[in-house]
Symmetry: C2
């Protein structure tokens, strides 16, 4: 695996590969790699001639009171994991190379950034869209892979690429889960032992909502109430949102008559966790 720090060098390598008609698969990450990332990279590895992974803890997607400083960084271990899944290139730029003095360009994907996490993390998705477009210009991927745990992020990136006529295929990958159902996330390591014990309630609450839909419940409010009730079994969990939305527009649905996304964000202690479930109503 080749490790590249310079955006210009990465771009020259990628341009060369594309001219030789190599397909480039790309997995952008913030490092602290886990099974979720690895399953993305394995898919990327399988479907493309060249597999590029980036590790960059993107300052502009964190709010001022968020965890940019303490976000887990583990480059030596990340490198070993990337070798184990046969990534070809690791792109690890410096923050001051990506956002030099005078930097001022931002990309906004308007409607899709407003609901769900967008309500609670102002500027977050603008930061995500902007860094991903920069990385797309540097890595020049044929295909890029995003985890469904961050479903809103996936939708926003897909919309951005289509809106801006960027010819890159944006592919979602299923959320990796611990044996007890907790969605794998770099932020899970913030949890205390006790908090970790309560955390599986998050996924259990989604399944609870899913079961109701299977039983032909059509009212979003009934589902939301059941999910919230399940989450309230733990006094350590505080709810940020529980929403049932259209998977394309992310607008809350009035009635469940086609596939919907049940999405939530909670805090367990100081740790913010998100998860979601795509639910098909019984036919």
């Amino acid at each position: 695996m080749k490790i590249i720090q310079s955006p210009q060098e990465m771009q020259e390598i990628s341009a060369g590969l594309r001219i030789s008609k190599n397909t480039i698969g790309f997995v952008p990450t913030m490092g602290a790699l886990h099974q979720g990332h690895l399953s993305l990279i394995q898919k990327c590895r399988k479907e493309n001639d060249t597999a590029v992974v980036s590790i960059f803890v993107n300052p502009i997607q964190f709010g001022p009171s968020e965890d940019y400083q303490k976000y887990p960084r583990s480059l030596p271990q990340d490198k070993k994991l990337l070798e184990s899944v046969s990534a070809d290139f690791l792109f690890v730029p410096e923050a001051n190379e990506m956002f030099p003095f005078g930097y001022q360009t931002k990309i906004t994907v308007e409607s899709l950034s407003a609901p769900l996490c967008g309500k609670f993390r102002p500027g977050h998705f603008q930061g995500v869209a902007t860094i991903v477009m920069k990385l797309f210009h540097i890595v020049i991927p044929t295909r890029a892979y995003f985890g469904e745990k961050d479903y809103q992020q996936f939708r926003i990136i897909k919309q951005m690429a289509a809106d801006l006529n960027l010819p890159v295929e944006i592919l979602p990958c299923p959320t990796a889960r611990e044996p007890d159902g907790l969605a794998v996330s770099s932020r899970n390591q913030y949890l205390s032992a006790l908090e970790r014990k309560h955390a599986p309630l998050v996924y259990q609450s989604l399944l609870e909502g899913g079961k109701l839909v299977e039983k032909k419940e059509k009212k979003p409010e009934v589902i939301r109430t059941a999910v919230i009730k399940k989450l309230q079994e733990s006094s350590l969990i505080s709810i940020e949102y529980v929403e049932i939305v259209h998977p394309e527009t992310l607008v809350p649905v009035r009635e469940i008559d086609e596939t919907v996304l049940l999405a939530l964000a909670v805090r367990i202690g100081k740790t913010r966790l998100i998860d979601n479930l795509m639910i098909q109503p019984a036919s």
Copy 2:
């Protein structure tokens, strides 16, 4: 000259050319082509293997009370002019192909969009940056050419390309002028015969400012006052702004000790005209 309407077809052609290592020069326009455009296209023609021109009256760069509807459209004549300067491709997309239902992605170049015309045309430069990035993704130019009459636009596009790591060279071309000095512009055709007679005062006022700097005047306020006084010789002219700014940051300068940009916008009747002059202080 080949005429292409479909963004996808244009993109496929361009990608093929770039893979064959052709350089692509690009001149984005809103049509109503004039000598200013033609000089851009001639430079583009000379410096690249393939010369692509786009004509698209971009709805999202016009304010609600601006002249989108009545902006001059003259495709048959434009085509002849483009043949005369040997353009290879004319890209003329439809508005609903460029901005389909659900379109929602915007690009903002923050500081550079705030002063000068940005103060008077809210959203204008966001609309410009967004359409130009879309066109860059479709045409995949090696080099793109912009007129210095729209100096702020040129700076914003250059900044956007650098900030977003897009490997396209952004090149400025000198403002084309009528024999009496009036900057050539598609909007000049809005002027009545009388207004047209008064219009050369715009450039004359810039030259007046330039002369003072040559005489070692260092105070921007003195220059501004002289320019305004000159413009006030016509009762048909109302001033939007007259500013003396740093050519990179577009921030007003406190003292003229290096090259500055003297920029202005006026209305003559209902027609809004802009012009500018780069001025070097006497050494």
